[in-house]
């Protein structure tokens, strides 16, 4: 595969926000992904792509501090995330906002309390200021009407939007989205895409999205990485649009064009 074209030429001169170098992820002796390296530029929307079960979400977990990589370095600007102790990780993690796949709202609290809790914990703001900020954040995602509802009373799409408002509660400059459009109808999903673009443009946040929702990825992502479940590593780097048009790797090509893999390739004989 020497002649395959799997690396998008970089023309982006924005500063690097996140660098991941030779990261290996494993559960015990079972390696999920090995030697994954990539750079995320400040203010970009970076897509982590790949088929189901290839380790996208596991990679995300290691980037938000839930799973320690067995090998490799992970820098957030100049800070080595996994090198320090718990306190330093919490400190770096203060810059993160995470939208979990299911929203992961704290079910014993209302939507408003969910958004307010991080502010109550980490800031000295007065309750009425917090309330105002909560309303602002819920307003941005169009969820102001649900401020006093409990997560169990919300639909899947509403939970995701409320989760997004909570992810933004401490004004993070790096946002992580785990499958933001999974399980949403096309209209809600398109609205979420617009919201993500607005957040990037409005707040200047760097956004990392784990997803395999092609239409959404083509629309919003400007860089990315493709993880393969068989080779257990990254097999292509570039924006989803570039990978669709130029990548010659058969797996990436099939993925980006929603085709079946050619049955002559090893993956086709299952």
């Amino acid at each position: 595969m020497n002649d395959t074209n799997t690396q998008m030429p970089s023309t982006d001169d924005r500063p690097v926000m996140i660098s991941v170098d030779d990261v290996t992820l494993a559960f015990g002796s079972k390696v999920i992904q090995h030697d994954v390296s990539f750079r995320v530029k400040r203010g970009s929307i970076f897509a982590v792509m790949g088929g189901s079960g290839c380790g996208k979400s596991t990679l995300l977990k290691s980037m938000i501090g839930l799973l320690r990589p067995t090998h490799g370095t992970y820098l957030v600007e100049k800070d080595n995330y996994w090198a320090g102790d718990d306190a330093s990780r919490v400190h770096i993690g203060r810059r993160f906002g995470v939208l979990f796949q299911s929203g992961a709202l704290w079910s014993s609290m209302t939507v408003g309390e969910n958004v307010a809790l991080p502010m109550q914990m980490f800031t000295k703001l007065k309750p009425d200021v917090i309330r105002q900020l909560v309303e602002l954040k819920l307003g941005l995602v169009g969820m102001l009407h649900a401020i006093d509802q409990y997560p169990s009373e919300l639909s899947g799409g509403m939970r995701k939007r409320a989760g997004l408002a909570r992810a933004m509660s401490l004004d993070p400059d790096i946002l992580f989205f785990d499958e933001p459009s999974a399980g949403l109808d096309p209209i809600t999903s398109a609205r979420l895409d617009e919201l993500i673009l607005n957040l990037r443009d409005g707040l200047g946040a760097t956004i990392i999205i784990v997803s395999h929702e092609l239409s959404s990825l083509f629309h919003i992502a400007d860089d990315g990485i493709f993880l393969d479940a068989d080779q257990k590593t990254a097999i292509a780097h570039g924006s989803p649009r570039w990978l669709r048009d130029h990548c010659t790797d058969p797996m990436v090509h099939a993925f980006m064009h929603r085709e079946q893999l050619d049955s002559s390739s090893p993956a086709g004989n299952g």
Binding site: I64, G93, Q101, W106, S107, M121, F122, L170
Partner: protein, 378 residues
Amino acid sequence: MNTSVNGAPQWHLQPEANRTLVTLSGDWIAQEGRTPAFPAGALKDVPHDEPVEFSTDQLGRWDTSLISFLWELKRSAREAHVNVDTNTLPESAHKLLDLLPEIPPEPTPPPPHHFAPVAAVGQFTLDTLNEVGCVSEMGTAAARGGLASLVGRGMMRTVDLMSDLNAAGPAALLIVGVVNFLVGAILAFVGSVELHKFAADIYVASLVAIAMVREMSAVMTAIIMAGRTGGAYAARISTMQANEEIDALQVFGIPVSSYLILPSVLALAFTMPLLYLYGCLIGMLGGFFVSYIMLDVSPLGYFHETIQALPLDQFTFGFIKSFVFGTFVGLTSCRIGLKAGRSAADVGIAATKAVVVGIVGVIALDAVFAVIANVIGI
């Protein structure tokens, strides 16, 4: 051979010139349960260079049972190195058959079952020691969080502590009361039968008082709370685990030990001694109730005898015990909830385990306390 179109499923193998013809007829419906099996060696004598073809003119209705039969046929054809021409099948059957792999996956071998009692005991010991370490570590972290809360820099919300206190305290009064009343009554019943023989009816009061204050109220209350609140904690925390809510806390850097565990443990550690005291009083009331009805004991006499029999330091001992029981039940059930897996079944397992560990642990701790009390002579 039955050739009626709507009859039982039938098949027939017939060698012809240059090919082998399989005739399929009848209705092949899985739920009717009449599908024949394809015998393993049926294609042994078929010449290798001649294909197997199908005649389906007499085939009635069919569903997956036909496909299953054809799959078996195809697999035995593969073993016998015979070609099967699936194009002679109905189009839809042909397509379904193509979806199936030619070689079924090897069944995964059952995990090897070794009988190794020494290794099992060793593993169990290691696991238990590890758990003891984890629970202690969690307790330390929670205690540190508690100290931080005292100086106003903690991560515990008063509202959570209040709701946990309410769930572990006032909401448990009824069941703790009922059980302790009945335990007191039972003690009085048992005591009265024997003491009446010696005309020592009045000593029922001291029997009930000492038994309740020394042992029964603390242990019964702790067992009730292990089942009631400990199980609830484990279920709540493991459900939060399943919903990624714990992950969300960790990502925000909100320490689980002081945000989630501290209020739960504090609530139990604080309410348990109070419930113990309440249980003692209700238990003595139960004892009095039985003595008053069955024996010739006056209310004032019963009261007097109870006061006489009870030095106040007996309460201190019970207080310390129930504080320890409360902390133990709180910490272990939170730990079990945190350690649980992420499925609905795991939530059930965690709740069960928390109750079992809570009850067994409380009784074991009580035995330890009994030994200590014996040694220091209380």
